[in-house]
């Protein structure tokens, strides 16, 4: 298993735990009368689960298992894969920080962090598709 795949999969597992922890906190809102802050975490729950866990696990597995691109570069561009990993996770981390902060106490600074987060995650999607497209082929 290539190093970038190990990073993708381990980080996806961290996101999985984080998502389910947030899900548990959300489920406890009523009975435990938790702070209103927790109401802002619903989008994070969904995105840590679907982007941080599911999509990231897929990205790592695809880089490892899909048909080889060429003899010289069997897995396409390793650099592009690392760039995908970096953009996806920095983007997600910025969202984890800025989204609840912006919802609780709106401020242009948090808002622009969300813009950066959006652009980073979007770039990760583009880089992943660029690196994968030519590997979707008959052997």
């Amino acid at each position: 298993m290539p190093p970038v795949t190990r990073w993708f999969i381990r980080t996806s597992l961290v996101c999985f735990i984080a998502a389910l922890l947030i899900g548990t906190l959300l489920a406890a809102r009523g009975p435990l009368q938790l702070l209103a802050f927790f109401n802002t975490l619903t989008p994070l729950f969904f995105h840590l689960f679907m982007v941080g866990f599911v999509a990231q696990l897929i990205f790592g597995m695809v880089f490892w298992m899909f048909p080889k691109a060429s003899k010289a570069h069997p897995r396409g561009s390793e650099r592009l894969a690392w760039l995908t990993y970096g953009c996806l996770n920095v983007g997600l981390l910025l969202r984890v920080i800025a989204e609840p902060a912006h919802a609780t106490a709106p401020h242009p600074g948090w808002g622009w962090l969300l813009v950066v987060s959006a652009l980073l995650q979007w770039s990760a999607g583009i880089f992943f598709v660029l690196n994968t497209w030519n590997r979707v082929k008959e052997r």
Binding site: W112, L114, S117, W122
Partner: protein, 135 residues
């Protein structure tokens, strides 16, 4: 990788791009509040990433990688898998239509029905292939 898997997975990649683009626009709106109309993309963002990307990628990969039969057709009923690809994508287009043209009633239901039938056709192909290798 068989041709049908190539179609399913490439379509999944296109939906990933569309879904991520809509998601990025919605998050930018959240941060800036400059384009409130962007919120109308939310149902398509969810539809594209759940059904167009995740489900379609799983279907394409399963058709490629599940155990094959000893005799032809080694990957089971190809026509049911072709139906799965067609129905799922027609369903997605109809769901998009229901968002873009809300005045036409029934599009959303027809879209979901086509997606359901597509998943049924996929299960018809996959079920007998869930078996030990070499059987």
């Amino acid at each position: 990788m068989p041709r049908l898997s190539i179609w399913l997975i490439r379509a999944a990649l296109i939906y990933l791009l569309l879904g991520f683009t809509f998601g990025a626009l919605i998050l930018i709106q959240k941060g800036t509040n400059l384009f409130p109309a962007t919120w109308q993309l939310l149902p398509l963002h969810i539809e594209f990433l759940l059904f167009g990307w995740t489900l379609q990628l799983i279907m394409g990969t399963a058709f490629w990688i599940l155990p094959r039969f000893m005799q032809e057709p080694k990957r089971g009923n190809q026509s049911s898998m072709g139906m799965a690809f067609g129905l799922l994508n027609v369903g997605l287009v109809l769901v998009v239509g229901s968002v873009v043209l809300p005045e036409i009633s029934g599009l959303f239901f027809l879209g979901r029905l086509a997606e359901f039938a597509g998943v049924g056709a996929f299960v018809l192909n996959a079920w007998p292939r869930v078996k030990p290798f070499g059987h």
